[in-house]
Symmetry: C2
Subunit: 324 residues, 2 copies
C-alpha cells in the first residue's frame, strides 16, 4: 500500500502521507483504533477530540502512537469547553497536525503554528476559507451540505462549494461531503480539490468506535434517509429515526428554539452513536450513507477507494460517454 511516491500531491507532501485520503475526525466514532488503521494504510487518520475528556484524549494519542508509525492528526472543535487542556495535551504528546473546526481560526492557529503544528481548518464557505488562510492555516477542508454532522448555514453543496473555495484561496483544498467512492474522489479532484476527507464510510468501518447498532443502521440507510435539521440551533445532518420523527413533529407544531433545545437535551449523540440507542439517539451521518453496503476494515476502504479512483481515471480516457 505504501509503495508509491508522495512527491507530487500537495496534501500528501504537507502531511507526509501516501494517499490524499483523510479520515474525518468525528465525535464518538474516530478514536485511536480508527485513526491508527487509516494512517497505517497510507491515509491520514484523525482522532476526534470533541467527544473526549482531556485525559481520555491523552490516552487515545498514546495508544495511536504505539499502534502506528505514521503521521496522524487531532480534530479540535474550537468551541470545546476545555480547549486549553486539549491544546496542552496535543502539545505535550507531540502531535503536530491539528484540524480545527466550529469556531474562529484566528484565535488558536498562530499559537499552533508557533508550536510547529500543521493546521487545517474546516469551512463551509469561501469567506471562512479566506479567514482560515489569513489566520495562517496550511490547508482547508471545504465541507458541503451533504456531509454528516454539523454543517454550514448557507447549505452550499460540494459541487458548488469546491470550485468557490479553490478560487478563493491558494492553500490546498480538501473536499468533504458526498465522497463515498473513488469516482466521487476523482470528481472532487476534478472540481479542484487536492484531497478528500471522508466521514461516513469510516463510521461504518471495523475500527470505528461507533456502536455496532449504529454501523448496521448506516449500512441499511437508503437514499433520502438523512436530513439537515436544528437549523435554528446548530444545523446537523442526522439519519432518520424515531428521535428525528419527534423533531419533525415539534417543527410541525411550530416549536421555538427553547423547545427544540429541550427536545435535543444533552448526550443524545453519545447515546445514539456510541451506546447504540438508535431509537432515541442522535445519529450523525452524511447523505452518502445510502452508498455504504458493508462494514469493512479501514485498510480495505482505502484500498477500494484507490482502485476505484484509478479505474475512474482510466474511464475518462476510454469510455464512450466521455467522447463525442
Amino acid at each position: 500500500m505504501m509503495s508509491e511516491s508522495l512527491a507530487n500531491n500537495r496534501i500528501c507532501s504537507l502531511f507526509g502521507i501516501n494517499f490524499p485520503i483523510i479520515q474525518a475526525g468525528m465525535v464518538w466514532c474516530s478514536g485511536w483504533e480508527l485513526a491508527a488503521a487509516v494512517s497505517e494504510a497510507g491515509g491520514l487518520g484523525i482522532i476526534g477530540s470533541g467527544s473526549m475528556y482531556p485525559e481520555v484524549l491523552r490516552q487515545h494519542i498514546r495508544k495511536c502512537k504505539s499502534a502506528c508509525n505514521r503521521p496522524f492528526a487531532i480534530n479540535l472543535p474550537l468551541l470545546y469547553p476545555q480547549i486549553e487542556e486539549h491544546l496542552n495535551i496535543i502539545h505535550e504528546e507531540g502531535v503536530n497536525i491539528v484540524f480545527t473546526s466550529a469556531g474562529n481560526p484566528a484565535k488558536y492557529t498562530p499559537m499552533l503554528k508557533n508550536r510547529g503544528c500543521t493546521v487545517v481548518h474546516v469551512v463551509s464557505s469561501s469567506r471562512f476559507a479566506e479567514k482560515a488562510e489569513a489566520a495562517g492555516c496550511d490547508a482547508v477542508v471545504a465541507e458541503g451540505f451533504e456531509a454528516g454532522g454539523h454543517n454550514g448555514r448557507e447549505e452550499t453543496t460540494s459541487f458548488c462549494l469546491i470550485p468557490e473555495v479553490v478560487r478563493s484561496v491558494s492553500i490546498p483544498v480538501i473536499a468533504a461531503g458526498g465522497i463515498g467512492s473513488g469516482k466521487a474522489m476523482l470528481a472532487a479532484m476534478v472540481l479542484g480539490a487536492e484531497a478528500v476527507q471522508i466521514g461516513s464510510l469510516f463510521v461504518a468501518s471495523k475500527e470505528s468506535s461507533a456502536h455496532q447498532n449504529f454501523k448496521e443502521k448506516v449500512v441499511n440507510a437508503k437514499e433520502g434517509d438523512t436530513l439537515l435539521t436544528f437549523k435554528e440551533l446548530t444545523p446537523v445532518r442526522l439519519l432518520k429515526n424515531p428521535f428525528v420523527n419527534q423533531i419533525m413533529l415539534a417543527y410541525e407544531r411550530g416549536a421555538g428554539k427553547d423547545e427544540l433545545r429541550e427536545l435535543l437535551g444533552r448526550g443524545r449523540a453519545k447515546k445514539g452513536m456510541f451506546e447504540g440507542d438508535i431509537t432515541e439517539g442522535e445519529l450523525e451521518i452524511g447523505q452518502v450513507a445510502s452508498q455504504i453496503q458493508e462494514i469493512l476494515p479501514a485498510s480495505v476502504i482505502i484500498k477500494r477507494l484507490l482502485e476505484e479512483y484509478k479505474a475512474a481515471l482510466t474511464d475518462c480516457m476510454g469510455e464512450d460517454r466521455f467522447q463525442w
Copy 2:
C-alpha cells in the same frame, strides 16, 4: 463547432446532437431564441412550455423551427393545467423530443412514445428514476438539491444523487444542478452521467428571455445568495431578495401553509424573472449563480464549457494533484 463525431456518447446519439450539453427548459427564460441558439451551437435547446399558453407555445415552436435546423425539445411540466392542448400542439408541430417534469411519467410517456417521441423525465431520486424507466422513458435528468427552481423533497445533492440514479437505471442519466463550468461537467460525467443539463448559465445568456434586471442580479449573485424555501408547498430554490426576506419573516412568526400560499400569491415568477421586478418577484436560480460573471451568447457558453471540459480532462492526466 459541429465538426466532431456523435457516435460514442449515448445522449448525443439519442438526440442527434454534437455535444452532451442540454439547456434546461425553464419558465420565463427559455423561449425559442435560447433553444434555437443552443441547438445551433450543437447542444440540445429546450423550450420551457410551463409558462406559455398553448398558442404561445405553438408560436415558439414555429419560430424555433425557422431559426434552427437542428434537433430541439419541449419541456412539459406534467401538472400544467392545459396539458392536453400542449400535447396536441407538440404533436401537430412535429417536435419529437419531450422532457417531462413535475408529475407521474407513467401517464403520458406511452402516448408520447407511440407518437414517435424521445421522452426524458426529470427526477430527484433514484426511486423516481426507476419509475421513469419503467414508464418507457429514454433517459432521465437527475436534478440535485443545488439546482434552481422547483426541487425534490429529499434534498439529495448532485454528488450523492448522480451515482445513485446511475446505479438504479440502465437508461442514460443527464446530471443537473451545480453545473457551471466544464470542470463541473467532467465531474458529473466521472460520477456516471452521460450528459449535463444546465439552467442557471443559460438564464444569464444573451438569448434568454429573462428580464435584463434578473440577468444582472444573477451575474452579481454571491455564494450563499440562494435558498430552498416553500418546502411545505413545493420546494423551490430562489435568489435572495426582499420577497425572500418576507418569506423568512413569515417562517419566523410561524406562518402556516395557508399564509405561505397567500404570501406567494400568483404570478410572482413572471413578475420577477420576465418583468424584472427583482424586489417583489420570485427569482428561480441555482447555487451555481455565484460562479456566473457575465451575460454571454449561448454559443459562447457552450464553447467555453467544451474548452474547460477538455482542459479538465487533460489536467487529470498531468496535474500534480491527481498524482501521488
